[in-house]
Amino acid sequence: MSIFSNKRNHQDPVLAGTSGAAGTPDVAATPGTPGAPGTMGTLGPTRSLRRVSGLRAVELGAAAVALFLVLAACFPTLLAPFDPLAINPADSFQGPSSKHWFGTDESGRDIYSRVIHGARPSLLIGAAATAIGVGLALVLGTLAGLGGRWLDFGVGRILEVLFALPGLLLALVFIALAGPGITTSVVAVGLSTAPGYARIIRGQISQVRSSAMVEAAVVLGRRPAQVLFRHILPNALSPVFVLGTLGLGQAVVWASSLSFLGLGAPPPAAEWGAMLAAGRTYLGTAWWMTFFPGVAIVLTAASSTVLGRALQRRVAGR
């Protein structure tokens, strides 16, 4: 299903509140021509057009970065000049140069090639973790939003317990129980982001459920399943996809953090968090070993945030 491809109005108080701060004008607030049937006025050019085009440069930049990252993740060999794992002790600790753009590490591996190759595990971990988090939240949030008072109460208390623990701590506990590795760190990050999404989904669903729109459908004689799938779920869940995009960057940062602590991808692999950890020892002499993987993490998180915001504005501002 393509929630975002259909060009329709969307009304969402949660998101509208945040995007309102970013200066998105409400289309409904622009003066239309009063409803005389003879004078069906069209809306004039609104301020929203100008505002959006003012932000477009940033959004385009973020989209370019995201495109590059996806390309790097899919076809790393196209972009990377060297084998990321090939050891060449003669070339160790070289600073950035025309041959090694980002310099080399302690074993003479090309940092640029490793950063490019690192895109795949990082993005995969981020995407998979977000998918797990949102998926789990969908189940919990829908149960709580639709399942009646006791189920709502039960799920609500579970979420509150999870909220009481910092997300990263939750992830660490899970890894301590399940053992380190890429798979466990994906699941760990997913688990720890789920409560946040779940609570939003629950709120959205219970809000849409009590709206006049649903009442109108009941008055028209619609069956509960029809109301659920036609009105409640699409309206309640579309903001979640926006939040997922926003959360992707955060998941990448978290996954890198776990790798940095030695709990994610094992050392020889080209993974940004692991590269940061390896470079930490040589921070004083070879800054490029930590700087470039760090930049990659920051760019990933920033571009996903900018794109998520842009998406949010489109969805909420229509």
Binding site: N9, A28, P34, A212, M213, V218, Q226
Partner: protein, 557 residues
Amino acid sequence: MNAKNDAVLRVENLNVGFGAVPAVRGVSLSIDRGQCLALVGESGSGKSVTARSLIGLAGDTADVSAERMELGGESLTGLGRRGWRQLRGSKVGFVLQDALVSLDPLRTVGREIEDSLRLRTRLTGAERSRRVLSLLADVGMDDPQLRAGQRSGELSGGLRQRALIASAIALDPALLIADEPTTALDATVQAQILDLLASLRERGTAMLLISHDLAVVGSVADQVAVMTEGRIVEQGPVAQVLGSPQHDYTKKLLRAVPSGHPRGARLSGLPGPSSLSVSYGPAAAKPKAADSGVPQSGAGVPVLAATALAKRFRTPDKTSFTAVDHVSFELGAGETLGLVGESGSGKTTIARIALGLTVPDAGEVRLFGEPWSTLTEKDRRSRRPLIGTVYQDPLSSFDPRLTIGQTLADAATGGRTLNPRGSAKQVKDLLEMVGLPADFARRGPRTLSGGQRQRVAIARALAPRPRILICDEPASALDVSIQAQILDLLDDLQRELGLSYLFISHDLGVVRHMSDRVAVLRRGRIVEQGPAEQLFSAPQHPYTQQLLASSPALEAR
């Protein structure tokens, strides 16, 4: 008339623009001591912008210019922020429509009023307290001592409005500007506030009253200025302008006021429909009803009958209040039953019970003589097409993700499809039936104006070919000329399709114009019920008499 000396406010050729958009064009006004000038117009006519310009609150983006703008002989043109601040409160008082947001919810009413006294006078604390109490007594507060210690959230709408007026007149300003001061209030409370404004005027305060309600204007003002599109199109004494209007726009506004126009008379001045029967003739409506096994009402069987309905709601503090108490009524085929009452009288609860959305604690609603409110939702579903509803705020009842065409296709096909192409003919006919062009099917609900949305809401309600429409304040949120069009449309549809309406409104004029019979609600009970003309011309119950007396009405012309 010694207007030259007495004029409190003189404005000549006021122009206000926002960027390239002119909001007020060449407005000239003059108000004498003890006189009330009413500025009348529909939303967007520039009346509020005019008033705000007079106190320097038109906004930073506004471009205000005037040949002359004088208050009590002093020029207002070229005042700085400081100058305006000195002026507000002491020379001009300002009363806004929504008193709830105009008063600080965290401060007591007494402190709100005392503020301006502390800033602008040399009174001592004790003198200020005494003055606050006497002001509250002046605006007709029952227990000033108690009220001064309360916050705005603890006061009713009418008391809040009084408190706001008290703070506006604390410094005895020469001019009081009241922007829609009674719009959000019930009829009886509105009458009290209007009396209060009239008594202030007798004390010599000049008043600029802004309103869209011609009846209110007629009962308070001496002079009227009619505004549209930023211009004053007609100005003069109330009796003259409302009695023998010269300008077409004034005539149109007056014709649109429903009170005083007999049932069936057209309000909008637009021609009636030409070919409604295209898609929804009374005969064509039958198969649908017959399919679902619903017996057609024989002569004498009411389409909707409520007997001894009761509903109590629990309040957060464990007590309960009775929203509907022993309410019985019958709605005949092709008839309109008006339900009138003030806010909190149980109108909407009755509508919800009639729609099968709220289960009554006692009593029963029968549809075409068969059980309705006692059914389970599952059993009710097959009969739901018989009864539709039109809301006061249609926007929230549309799915924002769907276009108008999809919404109507969904309603017309019983939810089988959202694809407006598959049911293009039905969608087009529905839009045509409510007077909208076919290309509206592609638009989203948010891009429509209030009147257009209400038309779509009516089209959707008619799509399953119901026999009954429950209309809950269907035109209350609309400007008077748009309201006239919607009321006319409902009238036409009823005549063409033989619909029965349960018509709910707080507006006596609207109910009188629309209804064959009327039931008056007070605190969940029907105090009087009868044929509309009889009930309005010779009300029996004291409450009905009070309600009628307090609603300002334009004399029938």
